[in-house]
Amino acid sequence: MNEIKHNELRNSQQKAGVKLLAIWTLAWVVSTAFLRFGAEYIWDYQLAYSAIALMTHLAIGIMMILVNVKHLANLDELQRKVTMDAMGITLGVGLIAGIAYEQLEDIKLITFEPEIGHLIMLMGITYIISILIGNGKYK
């Protein structure tokens, strides 16, 4: 009975963790947009406002990392392995693809300037696919 209660508690903690992570990730995305477009359209690149927006952005980013660490700690060991494997693959793909992509313009294989947004999209897709494959493997 205690174990069932413990499992229910663990499940609710995991759900709350995912929800919290989603909220902080969304806050980080919003703060990124605010930092970028706020300087251009709201405070006209005034140094003090830009510094405050940057500090806020970094503080939210740190919170997002801490919430992610807590979320990882609430997973059981297989869930943690699947997540860590996906993170490792995403980091590798991000590094390899990021450096190669950055050099495309230098070696004149593309005419436009590489954008960080493309790399983030690639990393996001890689992470999702890795999680799906990892979960499928241990089904």
């Binding site: 069932i4 060991e77 869930q79």
Partner: protein, 65 residues
């Protein structure tokens, strides 16, 4: 690594969900361990063995190298 989890569970008429609950892991994890797809950590292996009042060696069979 092979194991006797399916037999031990059947002897007690437990479902995978019951086992997962007793071990405080997800059902996916209990299933992956039982099928030999995922090797548990030493603390979890000990917890499994204690749950059945057995030793780790009596539950898990290490493949010959």
């Amino acid at each position: 690594m092979k194991n006797r989890l399916k037999v031990l569970r059947a002897e007690r008429d437990w479902t995978q969900a019951d086992l997962a609950s007793a071990l405080q892991v997800s059902r996916q994890t209990a299933n992956a361990i039982e099928k030999g797809k995922f090797d548990p950590s030493l603390p979890l292996a000990i917890k499994i063995a204690r749950l059945f009042n057995l030793t780790v060696e009596e539950v898990f069979i290490v493949d010959e190298v």
